[in-house]
């Protein structure tokens, strides 16, 4: 049995190693632990969010740190930033590890909606419900934009814009800013839950609401009856959608060319949005306007297809428009990350944590850990409005759905340019 025990011993040792070194230390500091995708195709999420989180924490500490329950100022400490690879099982393992083996007061992760959906499911649904054996640990996600995730658990928090109001406002603004745009069509990637549902249930519905005329395949019910409309849209427009890993977009682009709409919606992540927009360019589909999915308002789109994306308008939760935002942007860039709608949320989360901690009395001792987490959760839940990088982050206390400010950006000459700020 020597070999097996050796192997088991070695793996236990490695697992022990993988727990942050200072995880259980008595030091007087406010500990947080983050995670995100640091491997796999979505690696940029984790890398950027880690850079943003660490930079923001450094800023907070440089400004004196966080005021704890005993009145003293303590530094905030990121005790680790783990790789969840945007996979459910791994994120759950990290969540449980954070909750049970570290004295982090809050877990910060992750960016991927599908992963949040699983992770939140492991948490206790209603706080104080003793019959529920779910994990009791506050989680603060940077993004996880899929609608409806807030209701899964009382312990889950997200820092995301509300996509419904975001696109509602967007089309209202387009109506006035581009009076000659009257018709629209579009496509999406159907294997990505967030892209497709946002497209059918939100973007297309809001465009119709603001009087744009759908010129895609006939969709009788598209309009106020959201659910019915969604179903019809899915059925009718199937052949102008694609999958994330596709390589051939000729059919979709030609269908959209034929529809000759003023506005084309590209509701897709950069991987396939770029392929599709390039195909549109090749087939010389030149709509007056393109509208994109908020997840595409990132550096990846510029890496992938700067020229084909020229002119696309996307609402985003971050742009360097205020002095704070500009400052944060330059700090994070120096730390080797990009600040975009995902990572900016990680930056803001650091400040949200500081704000919440200072609203209550966190002792930050190992003995008070569970109590601290509970207090922290309640404090975080009680925040309904907090200053973020480009405006106020708000949260609806009853539904738990967050809503953060957003701006509209457009690719102009190969760079993201803010074209409208609905708050100003």
């Amino acid at each position: 049995m020597k070999n097996i025990s050796k192997l088991i011993g070695a793996s236990m040792l490695l697992i022990a190693l993988s727990i942050p070194q200072n995880a259980i230390s008595g030091g007087h500091s406010l500990k947080v632990l983050g995670w995100g995708a640091k491997s796999g195709p979505l690696k940029s999420f984790g890398v950027n969010s880690e850079a943003a989180l660490r930079s923001a924490v450094a800023e907070i500490n440089a400004a004196g740190g966080v005021r704890m329950g005993d009145g003293s100022m303590a530094p905030m400490e990121v005790i680790g930033y783990e790789d969840s690879a945007c996979k459910k099982d791994e994120a759950i393992a990290i969540l449980r590890k954070t909750a049970s083996t570290t004295d982090a007061i809050v877990g910060m992760g992750t960016t991927c909606s599908g992963v949040c959906q699983a992770m939140f499911g492991v948490l206790q649904k209603k706080r104080g419900d003793d019959s529920d054996s779910g994990v009791q640990m506050p989680i603060l996600a940077d993004t996880c934009i899929r609608p409806g995730l807030a209701k899964i658990s009382d312990w889950s928090f997200r820092n995301v814009p509300n996509e419904i109001t975001m696109y509602d406002e967007l089309f209202k603004w387009i109506r006035t800013a581009y009076p000659n745009v009257k018709t629209f069509t579009g496509g999406s990637e159907t294997d990505q839950g967030h892209s497709f549902v946002t497209y059918t249930a939100i973007i297309a519905q809001m465009a119709v609401k603001h009087g744009f005329q759908w010129v895609g395949p006939p969709v009788p019910e598209l309009g106020p009856k959201v659910k019915q409309g969604m179903k019809e849209l899915q059925a009718a427009a199937k052949s102008q959608h694609w999958l994330m890993g596709d390589t051939n977009y000729t059919v979709q682009a030609r269908k959209i060319k034929k529809q000759n709409a003023d506005m084309v919606i590209v509701a897709s992540h950069p991987f396939s949005a770029c392929g599709f927009m390039k195909e549109m360019k090749r087939q010389r589909v030149k709509p007056k306007l393109m509208v994109g999915l908020t997840s595409s308002a990132s550096q990846e789109t510029l890496n992938g297809c700067m020229s084909a994306a020229e002119g696309i308008i996307i609402p985003t939760g971050f742009a360097p428009i205020t002095s704070e935002a500009k400052k944060a942007n330059s700090i994070v860039s120096k730390a080797g990350g990009f600040l975009d709608l995902h990572s900016a949320a990680a930056w803001e989360n650091a400040y949200l944590i500081k704000h919440a901690v200072e609203r209550t009395s966190i002792m930050g001792k190992p003995s008070t850990l569970q109590e601290d987490r509970r207090k922290f959760r309640n404090a975080l839940a009680s925040i309904t409005s907090q200053k973020g990088l480009i405006g106020h982050l708000t949260r609806d206390g009853s539904t738990g759905e967050a809503s953060k400010p957003y701006v509209y950006v457009q690719v102009v000459n190969g760079k993201w340019k803010v074209i409208h700020d609905p708050n100003s």
């Binding site: 049995m1 793996s11 599908g114 499911g121 054996s133």
Partner: protein, 296 residues
Amino acid sequence: MDFYLNLINTIGIHTMLGLSAYLLLQTGQLSLAQAGFFAVGSYTAAILTVIFQWNIIPSVLVAMLVSGFLAFLVGFPALRVKGLMLVVATIAFSEFVRMFFYNLKWRVTRNGEEIGPDGTMGFAEIRYFSDNGWSNFEVTLFLWSFVILIMGVIWWSDQSRTGAVLRAVGEDELAASSVGINLTVVKVSAMTAGGFIAGISGGLYAHQVTSLDHHSFTVLLGTFAIAYPILGGLSNVFGTLVAVIFIQGLLVEGLRFLGDWRMILFGLLIVLAMNFKPLGLFDKQTMDLIKKAIRV
């Protein structure tokens, strides 16, 4: 503690997944369909506990029967072909299953909330364990009782004539059929047994992660299912367990502190392991070492 229990649960689920491929691999057939059976099992069990509010035990058993039956049906046409053709056919099968679940919508309203599988949005809030106040330790006991039962049955059949027949088919099909072994029956039975096991493991997995969507059941999962027995060696069931501990415990969880280098090392270590131990980590050489160690 919670974390270690979670890791032990993950190891248990993956061990069952690996064992579901073990029997068929013994007959020399390389099938990547396990991801499909696993997906069917997990969706079935989750639908039963969430939509029909069944107890978990009958749900897992029904999941087992459903995926076993599916494996039985798939086995007949699929096992007509072998080698690379079987690999591709089974990849295609599990992609088909994945696409089925990615189109599956079955929403019902309960207590004012909509629940059930929701197409590409996945199937969230499969919260049987926490809703019924099961502690993670109880979950571990529950899950591992299945693992131990399955390992025991396979260990036993390995020692009996069944094991010898499966291996005989794997070594020389022509010789096996000329001593009277019905190849189709043996292969389809192995596939069906694999389907049963994959169904159980999928049903438990659904409740462990609480949320399912088609991203979990890709070809990659099917590859892992065969990777465990191949990496562990086909000489006995403990090989699979050791391989799961190696991959899930060591490479996935143990190396997490390496951050972005972890996955690179992951691929590299598999290549190295196969080069140095082509018959699996738990091959005859290792067995002899262990036997020697026990004797000393």
